[in-house]
Symmetry: C2
Subunit: 180 residues, 2 copies
Amino acid sequence: MSVFDAIDTRRTIRQYDQSFVPPKEHVKKIAEAAIKSPTGYNRQGVDLLVVTNKDIINNMNDKVFDALDEDAKNYFRTRKELGLEKFITCDAPVLYVLYANGKTDDVYARLDAGIMAESILLTATSLGYATMPIGTFMIGDLSEYGIPKDKVLLAIAMGKARAGIEIPPCDRNTKITYLE
Amino acid sequence: MSVFDAIDTRRTIRQYDQSFVPPKEHVKKIAEAAIKSPTGYNRQGVDLLVVTNKDIINNMNDKVFDALDEDAKNYFRTRKELGLEKFITCDAPVLYVLYANGKTDDVYARLDAGIMAESILLTATSLGYATMPIGTFMIGDLSEYGIPKDKVLLAIAMGKARAGIEIPPCDRNTKITYLE
């Protein structure tokens, strides 16, 4: 799939086919695409945790959910209507967690994590997968999995979209100014 | 060009063909790819300035350069060896400037800018162009061009690579951990 088609067709999907786990070869190919992305001054200040163990994904979901305030919990609870059990990770079979390793400052780490995230999203899209960026993961304490507290930058859920779900439109009104 | 090939072949290039300006159709296609990228909670907190006016690009370069401390100026001055006149923008014919519009907080704005930046870099690569992310733009005051002070998140230079230049290797040792 071309870059432009991947950008054009990518949508955030929250309903995954529970009977399908992407093959390890694809999971690894996406991770390798991520780390080929550029980083500020090539400092490579973002490391990557790739989780395909369902118990660990569920435990991460619960840790993040428990850290939410009550309003946010209620917001995420509305996802029960989508038939979900885990409202943050949306029962996706694969989770990529981007976290800061201290080789760069927070400003660059976030920019670099965004760059890596888009490589993950587009590579996954080009392989036929559905994806969902999860900013909420920033609040969880995942130190039991080797991620220093408060160092998660972003997580990305990945899997096969459930058949028959509604694909949301691309609703954008971002301002572009041309100086010619 | 496929997503994976674009990620695999993209390199930061600082030497541009001075006789070639990318056609407006390509410049716009890249900008439109950028704004189709996902943003946290779809808040679209990053706007985009696309500059093809050489005088403005040069003026932006000078404003950023002048704001550097002397050590940083000396670091960038070494780029004179590459045959460059403007050491920050590297004489590129097109500049994409991503800046925060206040619709989201700084943390999400930086993540979103990184995501948009990778869309720009990969779309440009797939169209045959060379690119360079410029984090240094964060320090410049570009308020005369409508960008609120301290709101630049990242800039990306784009153009055609100069013939015969050395393409740097992809040097990565980012840590990937698999939890299976």
